[in-house]
Subunit: 419 residues, 2 copies
């Protein structure tokens, strides 16, 4: 064991750890004879063990002091486990239906013991690739975003509570820096980490690097990401951070959590749905042209934003006489003015959402980490066609985001550029 | 002495303290026989002692655990002394010509020992009321703002250093809350603290409280103040926080210092110059119509912004390959793009400056703390005429700020509304 009390687990050590930790042992019914243990982490970032006993189950996630990137080891603070655990606990408090419960956190060991989000839950991204419809997805994810973002913003918190939380999450700076690099920087310059579907997209990737207006806009978004402590955001809310069944939606992996702009979360989710949309043509075959599924994705994008809008502003109404100090009732107590401030707030948020969403799309096509939606399209030229359409939509959304006034206009733009 | 080690000073205790503190004693040449001590604080917020010995001088400032407001005592953390000392030291490091040196800081006693900014220095506001021109003022204050704001922003700092500083200054939340209340809230609602030149301005004050567009805009500025950690700002940079001679400019009293929007500082200074401008008609008499002086104030407003613009962007050029992570050279290394991003950054900053400046003007006319510029105009109706013009300019600047593209347009608007 290292002097700081950290020790990477293996299966044997894990069992010892479980036996010695009452809160975890209890979840397994204190039965250790017939444990079934499976390591499912990709080994690049974290160990993730599923532990099943005849009378219960848990997941154990342990952060390692590095990430692997294209075979290279990249040091990365294991303190991120602390921020992941804290964010999970805070989000579970605010939205227990859609966040797995944390049973145990060990800061020295960088170890979280939490609910096993059991089958038939799968990662949403895999469901989208398979063409599965999730009728409650928009309802659930909008609920998660509305509650976690509203209750950690100045619409609900006092300045005192807000600043104290902001200060705490400033400690998660290494993960913020990683986002800055991979989302806001690398795609716009030559970087050893970047890749794209070559040679088909080489010129497109170069065009991104040469596009002054795009670079002007990405700078504005980057400074908003770095400077604007609007709410506790998940920080990595793509479709790989969501586990789903037809009836359940669970948001996991908030290790990038910090006080940042709300649009970064909403944009991550919607941007990844747009990626999934453009990948469908690559998954279509004689048996299924995926056209109805593409319609469903577009509807889910609309519903997500519109339900978020409705839920978020309903929380605002509900708590307009609450502790939040942003819009004091004595000043904003007339109905016309309330409509006016909400309209402006939500329109600004839509623009942030489109900007950040587009940035997250671009980086998945010409940056370091690609998405399985496209990667699973085997034929490169076909994959490139899908990616190019998505890239062009993203560039338009990023540059023109302030011209959009509703999500239906966004969906129309997506359809138009798909033609 | 209280259990926390804090003890309010009187003259006797002060001398004992000086004798026991080598760094301060040295500044007085260790001569305590012929000390001359004068308490010049208004006793509302801090004790401020000037201490003169035959061979040196110092100022001792001690924060008290409350502020007084219209005769009422308002509890206020004395920890603000820590943030004042820290900000003074940081600003002096970045701009030693325009910030008095700190000789000593005692956190328990909330006590700062610093350079005595000696006569003929006077508070700038008093000089403006007297109609004195300061030919180097714009040069100096723009230097102060450019250096303190640039070097604490992400244009120069790494994300790591920036976030760590942001976290520290989150501790100055009580002073931030005070600003939120008196600048962004009280003027827009009925508050026991508000006052105005009654009855002349009663309808104007009510119009502010009933103006939905104004309240919509002030909400946007308030959220920027609360959420946007752009740079270490002074936080209270009005003309009462600046001491001047014809040749020297010294910025004092940064107890409101924290990481906030740059435009809040620049706006405070320019907004207070506009107040000074509109107060001149109230100071005019047969001997001096103050017209040339009003021209000088307008020129100083223009020069302040234009020199700030030049100095700030020059620092940006100088450090474009430096540690700052906002605009990486590999991305922003072409001259056209550099011009483009600077133009956008500075235009956004102008809009913030006008918005915050206007907010600071409004609160000085219909809020709790008024300015001597107007208060010293004895005849109420004459004072009200001056104040009304200033208020109308402020409302225009706040609502229309995004339509201005240069400071000369702002100056024209001021002149037009003065006609």
């Amino acid at each position: 064991m290292a002097s700081d009390g950290f020790q990477p687990l293996n299966e044997k050590l894990l069992v010892e750890y479980l036996k010695a930790t009452p809160s975890l042992a209890a979840k397994l019914g204190n039965q250790f004879d017939k444990l079934e243990i499976k390591e499912i982490g990709d080994g690049n970032l974290n160990f993730v063990y599923i532990v099943l006993s005849p009378s219960g189950s848990i997941v154990i996630k342990q952060a390692l002091p590095y990430i692997r990137c294209i075979g290279e080891s990249w040091p990365m603070t294991k303190e991120r486990a602390y921020f992941e655990a804290t964010t999970l606990q805070e989000q579970a408090r605010l939205c227990p239906d859609h966040v797995p419960e944390v049973y145990h956190f060990d800061r020295k060991m960088c170890l979280i013991g939490m609910r096993y989000v059991e089958p038939p839950h799968i990662i949403l991204r895999k469901g989208l690739i398979s063409g599965i419809e999730y009728p409650l997805l928009a309802e659930h994810i909008s609920e998660f975003m509305a509650r976690t973002l509203f209750y950690t913003s100045l619409l609900y918190l006092t300045t005192t509570d807000h600043k104290s939380a902001v200060a705490k999450y400033c400690g998660n700076v290494e993960l913020c820096r990683l986002t800055e690099q991979v989302v806001f920087s690398d795609p716009y310059k030559v970087s050893e980490y970047n890749r794209c579907t070559s040679p088909y997209l080489d010129a497109d990737a170069e065009a991104v690097r040469e596009d002054n207006i795009l670079k002007l806009e990405i700078a504005e978004l980057k400074s908003k990401f770095c400077e604007r402590a609007q709410a506790l955001i998940h920080g990595d809310l793509h479709t790989g951070s969501v586990m789903v069944t037809k009836n359940s939606t669970q948001v996991i992996d908030p290790e990038f959590g910090f006080y940042g702009p709300m649009g970064f979360d909403i944009g991550a989710f919607i941007g990844n749905l747009i990626l999934a949309y453009f990948a469908q043509d690559g998954h279509a075959d004689k048996g299924a042209d995926r056209k109805p599924y593409k319609k469903w994705i577009l509807k889910t994008i609309s519903d997500t934003w519109n339900l978020f809008y409705a839920k978020f502003t309903a929380l605002w109404d509900k708590h307009k006489d609450g502790p939040g100090e942003a819009y004091l009732p004595e000043i904003y107590n007339n109905p016309d003015l309330q409509l006016l401030v909400k309209k402006k707030y939500m329109e600004d948020l839509l623009h942030d959402t489109l900007g950040f969403g587009a940035a997250k799309m671009i980086r998945r096509i010409v940056g370091v980490a690609h998405v399985e939606d496209f990667e699973s399209i085997e034929e490169a030229s076909r994959r490139a066609d899908c990616e190019r359409k998505a890239l062009n939509v993203a560039k338009t959304l990023l540059k023109e985001r302030k011209k959009f006034h509703s999500i239906s206009e966004v969906v129309s733009a997506v359809e138009q550029l798909d033609a």
